[in-house]
């Protein structure tokens, strides 16, 4: 265990026989003397010098770090975002700091207040809910913030959103076109933003397809596998005439697939099924699950790009980007 302290710019200067200013300049490309650069580089290699980013940050007032704060990295949608955010930021030399808030609103606010005043140059936030206090905090962050999710129109913050209402509608229209007439919907809680939007989209889809609404075909549960399974089992037992089910996310839809199998119904022969989010689950289920992609990966990438623009000093008015949903049709609704 070598316990030598890391070499500083002073060692490099000493070995190269120049001043620390010259070392700094040579390293940052602020010199035109090729010989100087060569000498400094040689000294750097010799002593194994790595600049202290901390000292650099203190001086330059930026850290090269960006944080992504979301509820739980375990959620497939956030995961997709991270997978795109990281390389996008990295290409520009930023490191990614991860912040799972664990559905804790206070913590989300804490992140906004302190984290944004500290150790990061920017922040991508994916809030579960947006309260007045969020808005307040967003208005006075010390660094650029991009919010992924719904945000009131008057908040001057870059914002990337999905359109899950249109997404649900797409799914319903697709099912109707495929010949379905009694389309059930298993939703998450109606008091969540996505739950509400997807329900609205479902109803619009029915209207667009000229199908009647029937409350008996709708269930509000949780965004979970077991919830979908249970709801589908009940729904299809009471209403055997249901010929299609839309699940408000892929987990619910997977639960529906299981329920149908248990009930001996063929998918898509007897009942067509569509999910939402288009997670990796969808492609590997049996039968492969049609699903509405809400563009998580794109939202992540776009959020990162917006933030990078701000970090480069762009101070144009806040932008609002909506990523359009797209339906991937697989066997479950073909």
């Amino acid at each position: 265990m070598t316990m030598r302290r890391r070499p500083t710019i002073h060692e490099v200067a000493r070995v190269a026989g120049v001043s620390i200013s010259s070392v700094s300049r040579a390293l940052n490309g602020n010199t035109s003397n090729a010989d100087m650069v060569a000498r400094v580089n040689a000294a750097v290699r010799e002593v194994g010098y790595v600049p202290s980013v901390v000292a650099q940050s203190l001086k330059t007032r930026h850290t090269g770090q960006v944080a992504f704060a979301m509820e739980d990295i375990g959620n497939a949608a956030y995961l997709e975002m991270v997978r795109r955010i990281q390389p996008t930021l990295r290409e520009e030399g930023y490191r990614l700091l991860l912040h799972s808030t664990g559905a804790d609103v206070e913590d989300e606010l804490g992140v906004l207040a302190s984290l944004s005043q500290n150790y990061v140059d920017g922040l991508i936030l994916c809030p579960l809910r947006v309260t007045d206090r969020h808005v307040e905090a967003l208005r006075q962050t010390a660094v650029p913030v991009v919010v992924i999710g719904l945000l009131p129109d008057d908040v001057p913050v870059d914002n990337v959103r999905a359109d899950s209402r249109v997404g649900a509608r797409l799914a319903v229209e697709h099912l109707a076109e495929a010949g379905a007439r009694r389309i059930a919907f298993i939703d998450g809680p109606l008091d969540t933003v996505p739950g509400r939007a997807r329900y609205d989209g479902y109803r619009r889809g029915l209207a667009a397809a000229g199908l009647p609404e029937d409350d008996a075909l709708v269930r509000f549960t949780d965004f979970q596998f077991d919830a979908g399974r249970k709801a589908a089992r009940e729904l299809l037992t009471v209403h055997p005439g249901i010929d299609a089910v839309l699940g408000a996310n892929d987990l619910i839809a997977m639960g529906v697939l299981h329920a149908l199998r248990e009930l001996g119904r063929d998918v898509p022969g007897d009942v067509r099924v569509v999910g939402m989010d288009d997670t990796p689950l969808a492609a590997t289920s049996f039968p492969p699950l049609s699903s509405v992609s809400l563009g998580s990966a794109d939202r992540g990438r776009i959020a990162a790009e917006l933030l990078l623009r701000r970090l480069e000093g762009d101070d144009a008015p806040a932008e609002r980007v909506t990523v359009p949903p797209s339906l991937t049709v697989r066997e479950s609704s073909r």
Copy 2:
């Protein structure tokens, strides 16, 4: 957009009418004068002071940050680790920096060399392969490192490992007990640590069950769904007598399930299937997939705990923890 500079400790001192030393002491609990603490806190609130972690880091020589470097956060096993690492570190006040290396060995080394000399107090590394250069780099990192995965015994670095060899063996023994006689194995690349270990475990399992080895029943591909599907299709077309398939991870096993369905073979009636990693996929597949858990969540937690001990100054000899695998039997092999 308020463009005021963040207040520093000097503003607080001025408002509180004390010296900056007193502010620092009050804030860090190094004073016993309750009145002083109160005055300082009041001033802190008044000016909205948040200490600069950058300046603190420069002074104290630690950053409060820990990095987790792995191949791709999209992998379910790594994800499980992150989900446990983050809260564990966070409880002790450390932030988590994420570093997907994208299967790039050079990049992995780069992380070790520069990242460990910089902006983090410690590092959790989950290398895909361990080369001599890794070992070399590990020997001279500037901060404590914990490696999740297999590491040569003489490398003095804390190490948390799964026992995927025993895991694969467990799976084979279980299949044999269930009556399987011709157990195929679809592995990832043999030159990866898990690929190698699982293959060894497979062979030991066969030996333990008194079954003959048959190279024709083994395929080395990728740890992916499509790879598993394709390999299974070929394998079962050429060798219809195969009565069980072990997939080296759940994705492969899911691919196997699909291939079998396409070939019209019943699972588990004709062919039993077992996967590895016990990801969420397993429980929601059809039929639900038996899978060997390698304790990803536990490994993540333990790695974080080991690292925290080092960060607290513990300099006991490097520890080696092995998390035992466990088999969850579901319908696919019942």
